[in-house]
């Protein structure tokens, strides 16, 4: 029943999308006709149908309708409701439908205010965006239809991968997808702009808010993934430079660059071509990332339903978008007279973009290099964190300095207050010397990171005070984001440098002394939960220095459908540090692996990212009010 309903909805939405494309082409060719109310109704219809079809899939998951293959393979009646819902995007088919639903939702929101834009620009953008939706709908129908039936109907589903049954990971895909998919709208707009000779500043105004909102969601989407990795994977880290993580970071670099250069375009009518390239690149990288993740060409610890055939489809979509978009770009782009002299705000924003591109190239290279060596010379390699750390960290130091002084330069004017620069630098170095004296921090790179992030933080705080005094509140967004980023780097640096990690093996009843700690493995408890069994360890950790006593209860969960083990870390968080304990069993041995970690200032890393991302939406509210 639901299968038939869902399939019909998909079919209607394909027809509607095709109709929109045809209709817009007709209107475009007939100079006399206005954008009729018809087109808007069609867009509303298209979006409604696609969203309803996605909700149909969600309800199939909620009522456990196992007549659908997708539901059968990824759900189970015993699962809690929230994971039944999350199951609908925890698989390839469902996530693709969510992708399309979000894409048409963005399309709807963008096009609903049709009077805002020039007629040609509007129509070309609409044609491109709707064609993209159409392309993905066809992909959905031919290679990953979530509404396929299975006969006879099974009584019970296979269940969702237990490692995905987690609140952070339930919201992670939708957040990330809003960022990913939202970038399609300025991809389309860029092509629309190229085809219609729209003025650069108008173009910048029309896409600026969309860039901000996608950047915001992309940022917190990545954050949700990191938090999940931190407490679920049991290593105590939150970023592993794994190909799948990198795939989400690539469009993020692009968006961040765009977020900055679009301001230059809006204010100075410069960098139009470059902004267009970034718009096109962001979405192309999104698809490229999807290809790398879903096709299984990459070797990642995170798994998704890999399937080479689907990979081929995504590769076709990727080549289509790449070739057409950059084809249009080279045919239609006009040469720009670029004149800028002196060190001013524009220069700093361009500097930001250079850094972003450098990070982008680095991460891209590190991610795809293993594919090349394997294809070309059959040598199996992987690129680990050391590569990224050695290449990226030194550049982050310089980047932070630029990020501090950049906002203090003027548009078109001259930089800079040298006295302030040296004062702030001096203050940061002084604090670093105190740190070295008390904590004996020897790593040069860490000290540089410490100085430069403090530099940025101080500079931004001075900025904040100035803007409070002068009541120029339009700076809030930038101050939020820059301060957030400075704090993020600072806390990551401190956390990395002062983390302690102990790996030992214990039997129940044993005690082990290491460093200042005494770890007591008291006993084991066994109990049942609705869809898994638990082996819980009772640990007491004594800190002999501060006489602090903490109890930990890490778990080993044995899921039945599908049959899998997961290790749940036991984490005690406070404002100063996280204490982190995981336990895992070792086959054919009474010993348990115990990992105990002390991770200072962990919670502040999350808070910094939230602060940084908030910059994206405070800007959004501001400019909405101004319009």
């Amino acid at each position: 029943m639901l299968s038939f309903f869902g399939n019909s909805l998909i079919l209607i939405s394909i027809l509607t999308s095709a109709l929109i494309v045809i209709k817009s082409i007709l209107v475009l060719n007939n100079k006399a006709s206005l954008i009729s109310i018809n087109i808007n109704n069609l867009i509303t219809l298209q979006t409604t149908i696609i969203v309803v079809s996605f909700l149909t899939l969600v309800s199939a998951f909620i009522i456990s309708d196992f007549s659908l293959i997708t539901v059968y393979q990824n759900s189970h009646t015993l699962k809690p409701l929230i994971y039944k819902i999350a199951g609908s995007w925890g698989n390839h088919e469902g996530s693709l439908l969510m992708w399309i639903a979000l894409m048409s939702l963005f399309s709807f929101l963008f096009f609903i205010k049709k009077n805002r834009y020039k007629r040609e620009y509007y129509l070309f953008t609409l044609i491109v965006q709707t064609s993209l939706i159409l392309l993905f709908l066809i992909f959905l129908v031919f290679s990953s239809n979530p509404f396929l039936k299975i006969l006879p109907e099974p009584m019970e589903g296979l269940g969702l991968n237990p490692i995905l049954q987690d609140p952070a990971l339930a919201i992670h895909p939708p957040l990330l997808y809003i960022g990913f998919v939202g970038s399609s709208i300025y991809f389309s707009a860029a092509i629309g702009a190229l085809m219609s000779n729209i003025d650069g500043a108008d173009f910048a105004k029309s896409i600026k808010n969309w860039i901000k909102i996608t950047w915001f969601f992309q940022t917190i989407g990545i954050l949700a993934g990191s938090i999940w990795a931190y407490y679920e994977l049991g290593w105590g880290g939150f970023w592993f430079w794994d190909p799948v993580e990198n795939a989400s970071l690539l469009p993020w670099f692009c968006m961040t660059a765009l977020l900055h250069s679009v301001i230059v375009l809006e204010k100075k009518k410069q960098l139009f071509s470059w902004v267009l390239v970034l718009c096109l690149m962001t979405f192309c990288l999104t698809i490229a990332g999807t290809f790398l993740v879903r096709s299984g060409v990459l070797n990642s610890v995170h798994t998704f339903a890999n399937d080479p055939q689907r990979g081929l489809f995504i590769l076709i979509i990727l080549s289509l978008t790449l070739i057409t978009s950059f084809g249009v770009y080279f045919l239609k782009n006009k040469e720009e007279n670029y004149n800028n002299s002196g060190i001013n705000r524009e220069t700093f924003i361009i500097t930001n973009n250079w850094f972003m591109m450098f990070y982008l190239i680095t991460v891209f290279l590190g991610t795809v290099y293993p594919i090349f060596t394997e294809v070309i010379s059959d040598i199996k390699v992987s690129v680990g964190p050391p590569f990224y750390n050695t290449v990226i960290i030194p550049f982050v130091v310089i980047f932070l300095l630029f990020m501090g002084i950049g906002p203090n330069s003027k548009w078109g004017g001259k930089f800079i207050n040298l006295k302030m620069f040296f004062l702030v630098l001096l203050a940061s170095v002084a604090i670093n010397i105190i740190l070295i004296y008390f904590f004996d921090t020897k790593s040069i790179l860490f000290n540089l990171i410490f100085i430069s992030s403090l530099f940025l933080i101080f500079y931004t705080i001075i900025d904040l005070m100035k803007s409070i005094r002068s009541k120029f509140l339009f700076k809030t967004s930038r101050i939020c984001s820059h301060l957030g980023f400075g704090l993020l780097v600072l806390f990551i640096g401190l956390n990395e440098n002062f983390s302690k990690e102990f790996d030992i093996n214990l039997k129940p009843g044993e005690t082990k002394k290491i460093d200042n700690y005494e770890i007591i493995f008291e006993n084991l408890n066994f109990y049942k939960k609705s869809n898994y069994n638990v082996v819980a360890g009772n640990f007491t950790v004594m800190n002999n220095k501060s006489n602090d006593l903490k109890k930990f209860k890490p778990e080993i969960r044995i899921y039945k459908n599908p049959e899998t083990l997961t290790f749940e870390a036991s984490i005690k968080t406070n404002l100063l540090s996280d204490k982190y304990l995981t336990m895992s069993n070792i086959q054919s041995s009474e010993y348990y692996n115990i990992k105990f970690q002390e991770k200072p200032l962990m919670i502040w890393i999350w808070i910094s990212v939230i602060l940084m991302s908030l910059g994206g939406i405070t800007r959004f509210y501001r400019s909405e009010n101004r319009l």
Partner: protein, 139 residues
């Protein structure tokens, strides 16, 4: 004579070129320095000189009855059925680590027969297997 504008452009383009090529060179060098090569016990056995500083990955099967645990470390033997290598590991083993199952250890060699692992590769679910292992099992 070149006009001022053209001159400026040439300088700009050569600067960009210089920046790009040096950045790419730097990337290439650090990439090569930090690549993790994947080796089987036989490849290690046959290699003429071994670099004990370099981090590599060793893959194969965990030999039957080879896992030994004490308070400090886990020891086991990786075999590819022709040669084998002993591994010492401090840390948490992934949930699917068991005897007669595939494993990938990351770390450095002490000699041709002894490997000190820093990391044992985790697998998220039972369906997933690192491609290196898949090929190995096929062989």
């Amino acid at each position: 004579m070149l006009t001022k504008k053209v001159k400026k452009k040439i300088i700009l383009i050569s600067l960009i070129f210089l920046f790009l090529s040096s950045a790419l060179y730097f990337l290439y060098i650090s990439l090569n320095k930090n690549l993790l090569y994947f080796k089987t016990p036989t490849e290690i056995f046959n290699s003429e000189d071994i670099n004990i500083q370099r981090i590599i990955r060793v893959g194969g099967m965990v030999k039957k009855n080879s896992i030994v645990v004490n308070q400090e470390e886990v020891r086991f033997i990786i075999t590819d059925f022709k040669n084998e290598i002993s591994v010492s590991y401090k840390g948490v083993v992934p949930n699917l680590f068991s005897e007669e199952k595939g494993v990938i250890a990351e770390g450095s060699l002490k000699d041709k027969k002894f490997f000190i692992a820093k990391k044992i590769l985790a697998k998220h679910d039972e369906n997933y297997m690192p491609p290196e292992l898949k090929n190995l099992i096929k062989e």
